[in-house]
Amino acid sequence: MTESLWELLLRSLLPIVGGALTGTIPLALLSFALGLVIALGVALMRLSRIRVVSGLARGYISIIRGTPLLVQLFVIFYGLPSIGIIVDPWPSAIIAFSLNVGGYAAEVIRAAILSVPKGQWEAGYTIGMSRGQTLVRVILPQAARVSVPPLSNTFISLVKDTSLASLILVTELFRQAQQIAAFSQEFMALYIEAAVVYWVICLVLSSAQSVLEKRLDRYVAH
């Protein structure tokens, strides 16, 4: 019996890791990349002096942060069809996760932009740069350094949150584990195995974060 449990765990490792490689990881990467683009846009809107623009950004952030991710996911996948919009599982998941990251990361990016001293903007202006040029060449590179730790948090959370996509039929790590568990009735073993695979992925991400922080710290006094 014990023998066959180990065999089961070993045998299920392939589909579970496969689910991570073809589901969890691409889903997280794609959603995070799109989410960052949304977040940058929302952060800049939020910093705008035009009331309506910053108000829109504020509203977006408030809705995203004030509602559960699972509900957002269900609204897109199960809700939209009732008004005639049918979105497949994968696109639904990517839309929901990137909108979600967009809301959370917007505040991180906004804070990071504000953390760069005003003198840096002025230095950009006085060498003749426009606002946009100063933002891209002077401010964002410095804001990036500040935002790596909080954005790493966001990314690691996202990797784990992709397990919710199993509920809208996306074949990813957790859905694979669920299916094998249901078939074999070894719930404890399979769910712990899934947990370990998530944990390993997050360990890799944490060390990637340290490497990135070191790289970006090369121009800062220690």
């Binding site: 002025e122 230095a123 006085t126 003749g128």
Partner: protein, 266 residues
């Protein structure tokens, strides 16, 4: 710095030409506080104008109005041969850009770009804004760094330099733009006393080369040596202006005398 230096501005020998910069009626309030009450300032080509006065007198705000970092409520700034920028009618981006194209600024806190090396700091404006060929910008930058004694630091990051070295990079970054006017905002106020001399030496050499400069400073002795005109400000007005021999040696106004006394008594 040799007088035949190719980067130095044209020698000045026509004293009757129009001033390089004329500012008229500059008014500025922060909230209810009127910090500038109609300031006029004339900067002849090749001259050094030093703004002095107690802190809070508005001298830095005047300087920052000249390149639009501060946007006054009223007043005009005009470069000879350029547009009259009228602050009463919210100046356009293009007008502010025209002020900044002709001037460059050296900041009290240096404001070097911390994520770029010394050389990258210096070539940023010439390459990204002025679209000059990179190789040419690098050659110029290296020559300028060499002249202020920082040739060996081209590939260092700002945090690896002392305050005095950072400020000399700040000056080189301004010079690399080949501006018509150099603006200095208390360039030595953030420096340790023993580092002030190196920076003042550089500014003195630039003055001798004929650069046009407006300088906000607390270094009165230095100002008296380097400036053609001293402008003494207090409470948002120009109290007195003229050559150092008048304003600093024989001030007419009571407020000027009081200010000088207070400094000399220390």
């Amino acid at each position: 710095m040799s007088p035949t230096d190719p980067l130095a501005p044209e020698p000045v020998d026509a004293p009757i030409e129009a001033p390089l910069l004329t500012a008229r009626g500059i008014r500025k309030s922060f909230g209810d506080v009127e910090v500038l009450k109609s300031i006029d300032l004339t900067v002849p080509r090749g001259n050094v104008v030093a703004l002095i006065g107690p802190s809070g007198s508005g001298k830095t705000t005047v300087l920052r109005s000249l390149n639009g970092l501060e946007v006054p409520e009223a007043g005009t700034v005009e470069f000879s041969g350029g547009d009259v920028v009228d602050f009463a009618q919210a100046p356009s981006k293009r007008q502010l850009a025209s002020l900044r194209d002709r001037s460059a600024m050296v900041f009290q806190q240096f404001n070097l770009f911390p994520h770029r090396t010394v050389l990258e700091n210096v070539i940023e404006g010439p390459v990204q804004v002025q679209k000059r060929p990179k190789a040419e910008a690098i050659a110029d930058a290296r020559a300028l760094l060499e002249r202020v004694g920082l040739g060996a630091k081209a590939d260092a990051y700002p945090f690896e330099l002392s305050g005095g070295q950072q400020q000399r990079v700040g000056i080189v970054r301004a010079l690399a733009l080949k501006p018509q006017l150099l603006l200095f905002d208390e360039p030595t106020s953030a420096l340790d006393p023993e580092l002030v001399g190196d920076v003042l030496d550089v500014i003195r050499e630039l003055a001798a080369e004929g650069w046009t400069m407006v300088l906000v400073t607390h270094e009165l002795t230095f100002a008296s040596h380097v400036a053609d005109t001293i402008v003494f400000m207090d409470g948002g007005v120009v109290v007195e202006s003229g050559p150092p021999s008048e304003v600093l040696q024989n001030p007419r106004e009571a407020r000027t005398k009081q200010f000088l006394h207070r400094l000399l008594d220390r």
